[in-house]
């Protein structure tokens, strides 16, 4: 075979050049479109970034904004983002030209954004129109390292052990209150042919729930914060004890958690294949409506009487104000509205698992489960966030999750695991 010496098909030079010129013109078009009247300077326009996309969540936001539009002259333009990609690109987003009002969470990264000057101080709202609206625990969540507030909390959902009361009634189980009772219940469930605790951590993050709660119950919330801030050692006796307690519980979990997604574990709970599941209140979203009553929770049992069960892991969502808002007055009006009782209740009407952060929330229309969940949050001595919200994201995603997954594969080399964690922590925290 020889290579052909023939000319390539006749793409003529001029045609090519003309095409190139055409492409160049096309490329310039959007730039031209940028000229003209800039609607961004409209004093009535407020922009907002919202990271929830489910139907009920969008409907809730719509209702809330309708009331705002009716009461003021402002028009709110909402940019909707898919939650995962939003979370992953927030760093870049905040450094670009972000919207005025930005959905975000309480915890470490809020404090980090505040320290870097990527968001604005909201303490005058907290001391002014929003004074007395939120609990002390929520206030601490929204406070930066400088003691000022940077977030208007919107809703929280508590993590706890969720179970089906009908299943418990059928077998005569009682919700456990202590470590011994929990282990005892697990044994009984196993004897009855159930997987006691559902487990699905293929995505990595769900494993943090078990670690967080064991840590909160064994070492207390202060240690949780120190650990998340990189101040406490990961290779000390405290963390090793957490892993030992986890290893003790592990045989009572569904087998092969690393191949099961969290949704699948949730399905196992709803099908009554497992007895309980450590999860957020969002489990209730998956429940068929006619069985809505058949879901309850108990708080993570007590491990140490001196530590108690006062700490509740309740991820809190809220809204921040960008560093350089185009319409500061409008944005603050919107934030005040969002922090108000009416707006929070309107939203919760549509998305019942979103428990309003406002202290005066009227629970008359709530289901028993929601009321109980809200009481749990209101009565919490400390509200903590999920580890991936409470610590540096690079540590959570790159170090903690792989380490927890390794622990689930080989629960017996705790010593090596923890010293490995500590070495990587030093490299990440620098």
């Amino acid at each position: 075979m020889h290579h052909s010496d023939r000319d390539p098909p006749a793409l003529r030079r001029r045609t090519l050049l003309r095409a190139l010129a055409g492409a160049g013109t096309l490329g310039a078009l959007p730039a031209l479109g940028g000229c003209g009247a800039d609607p961004r300077n409209d004093p009535r326009r407020v922009t907002m970034a919202f990271n929830r996309v489910q139907e009920m969540e969008l409907a809730g936001m719509n209702d809330l904004l309708d009331v705002f539009h009716a009461a003021t002259d402002y028009t709110v333009e909402v940019d909707n983002f898919e939650p995962n990609s939003y979370q992953e690109s927030i760093n870049n987003y905040l450094q670009g030209t972000p919207d005025d009002v930005i959905a975000w969470f309480g915890g470490y990264r809020l404090r980090f954004f505040a320290e870097r000057g990527l968001i604005s101080d909201l303490s005058h709202l907290w001391d002014g129109p929003l004074a007395g609206s939120f609990s002390q625990a929520h206030k601490e969540l929204c406070t930066g390292d400088d003691g000022k507030q940077y977030l208007v909390p919107y809703y929280s959902y508590p993590w706890a052990f969720y179970y089906r009361p009908s299943l418990f009634a059928e077998h005569g189980y009682e919700p456990p209150a202590t470590r011994a009772e929990l282990l005892d219940l697990c044994e009984r469930m196993r004897d009855d042919g159930l997987d006691p605790i559902g487990y699905g951590t293929r995505e990595g993050w769900p494993a943090m729930g078990t670690f967080d709660y064991l840590n909160l119950r064994i070492n207390g919330p202060e240690f949780h914060t120190d650990l998340a801030n990189g101040d406490a050692p990961w290779d000390g006796p405290e963390v090793r004890e957490v892993f030992s307690a986890w290893a003790e519980l592990l045989p009572h979990h569904q087998p092969d958690p690393l191949g099961r997604s969290f949704d699948e574990a949730q399905t196992a709970l709803l099908r009554k294949e497992c007895g309980m599941l450590l999860a957020g209140l969002f489990v209730s979203q998956a429940l068929p409506e006619e069985e809505a009553d058949d879901l309850d929770f108990f708080v993570f049992p007590e491990y140490d009487t001196s530590v108690g069960t006062g700490a509740v892991e309740a991820p809190t969502d809220g809204f921040m104000l960008s560093a350089d808002p185009r319409n500061p007055e409008g944005a603050e009006a919107l934030l005040t509205h969002i922090g108000g009782l009416e707006a929070q209740e309107l939203y919760a009407d549509r998305d019942p698992q979103a428990l309003p952060a406002h202290v005066d929330t009227d629970t008359a229309s709530f289901s028993d489960l929601e009321r109980k969940a809200l009481e749990l949050i209101d009565g919490a001595e400390t509200i903590t966030q999920f580890l991936d919200r409470d610590t540096r994201p690079d540590f959570a995603a790159v170090v903690a999750i792989p380490a927890f997954q390794r622990f689930l594969r080989q629960p017996d080399d705790i010593r090596e695991l923890t010293s490995d964690l500590e070495r990587q922590k030093r490299s990440v925290f620098g």
Binding site: D256, G259, D394, V398, I401, R409, R423
Partner: protein
């Protein structure tokens, strides 16, 4: 290209055109360095400048500069927030960390290698085999062709969903089938780190096979049928015809396939990302780079160091490829 006889008459440049002259010059005699070709007026010089300059600027701006920036950033610690003045220079610390205290790095290297070897052995051979079969003008060939090619055009989200339906431990098709047919206990296809890479490679191979098939199919259509006739007249069977006559004639396609496969193996990313973000047995360098740089982590410096390692590996293959091409061109 189509055979000479059937191709539509191509409008050739008028004889007076400078290009034609220069073309002829080049073909008949070695072009004198200072003579003829470039003396053909400003229009041509601008043309040449544009045709070289635009692609060169694109390559420089979109490939070389980012690559260089990656190398530079790999010696820093930076979270991507704030101006360039917040960058902290830490020398080769990122590389030291990657090789010493970053547990996923070793598995990622070996997984990429396994990926490459498996892609070369199974889907490439299978794709070639399918192409040869389809080239025989089977009835419904176009239908088969579309079916085998389908995985290549499916979106990432859909592929992840399809394989989840098959591999799910509790509700998956495969485990249900195994339990039904052999009463086997459920296998943890996604979670068992000794197993999940191969489970995913089946999915990746499923996709790669269709791609390779199409490449070879295009190559086979271009093989001169007289070659086959000649081989048949000489008494070669179909297997002998393929191995001794057709396959060597496919050399350009083979090179393309090698390159495509190597690139695919190094770029492999989407399926593992959908399944578990490239952790727990599914570590791949590309996934680690993404976790560190693009994801929430914003560990720009460390992620860049990983990307540089990936770049170095690609360079090895690029050098081999370019050397082969140049040798071929010289011949």
């Amino acid at each position: 290209m189509a055979p000479h006889g059937t191709s539509p008459p191509t409008p050739s440049p008028p004889p007076s055109s400078p290009t034609a002259t220069s073309d002829r010059n080049r073909r008949t005699a070695p072009r004198p360095r200072t003579g003829g070709a470039l003396r053909n007026g400003r229009g041509d010089r601008i043309t040449v400048a544009l045709m070289l300059g635009v692609p060169a600027a694109l390559v420089l701006g979109l490939v070389w500069l980012p690559a260089l920036a990656t190398v530079v950033l790999s010696f820093t610690r930076w979270d991507g927030i704030g101006g360039l003045e917040t960058i902290e220079w830490i020398g080769v610390q990122n590389y030291v960390d990657a090789f010493t205290i970053y547990p996923p790095f070793g598995p990622a290297l070996s997984n990429n290698l396994i990926w490459l070897v498996v892609l070369f052995t199974v889907p490439t051979v299978l794709g070639m085999f399918l192409a040869v079969l389809l080239d025989r003008q089977l009835r419904g060939g176009a239908l088969y062709q579309s079916i085998f090619y389908m995985p290549v055009v499916l979106s990432l989200a859909l592929i992840g969903f399809i394989w989840q339906l098959i591999y799910s431990r509790d509700q998956g098709l495969l485990n249900a089938f195994l339990a039904f047919a052999a009463d086997a206990p459920p296998v943890d296809w996604f979670g068992n780190p000794d197993l999940n890479l191969y489970a995913v490679l089946v999915a990746a191979g499923w996709r790669h096979t269709g791609y390779i098939m199409l490449l070879y199919l295009a190559g086979l259509k271009a093989v001169d049928p007289t070659l086959r006739e000649a081989a048949a007249i000489d008494g070669a069977g179909p297997v002998r015809t393929f191995t001794s006559v057709v396959f060597p004639a496919l050399l350009p396609i083979n090179l393309v396939v090698v390159v495509v496969t190597v690139i695919d193996a190094l770029r492999a990313f989407d399926i593992v990302w959908v399944i578990n973000r490239g952790r727990n047995g599914l570590e791949l360098i590309s996934a680690l780079v993404t976790q560190n740089v693009i994801g929430e982590a914003s560990r720009v410096g460390f992620g860049s160091a990983l990307a540089v390692v990936m770049l170095l590996i690609s360079v090895v293959f690029i050098v081999v490829y370019v050397a082969t091409m140049l040798r071929g061109a010289r011949r």
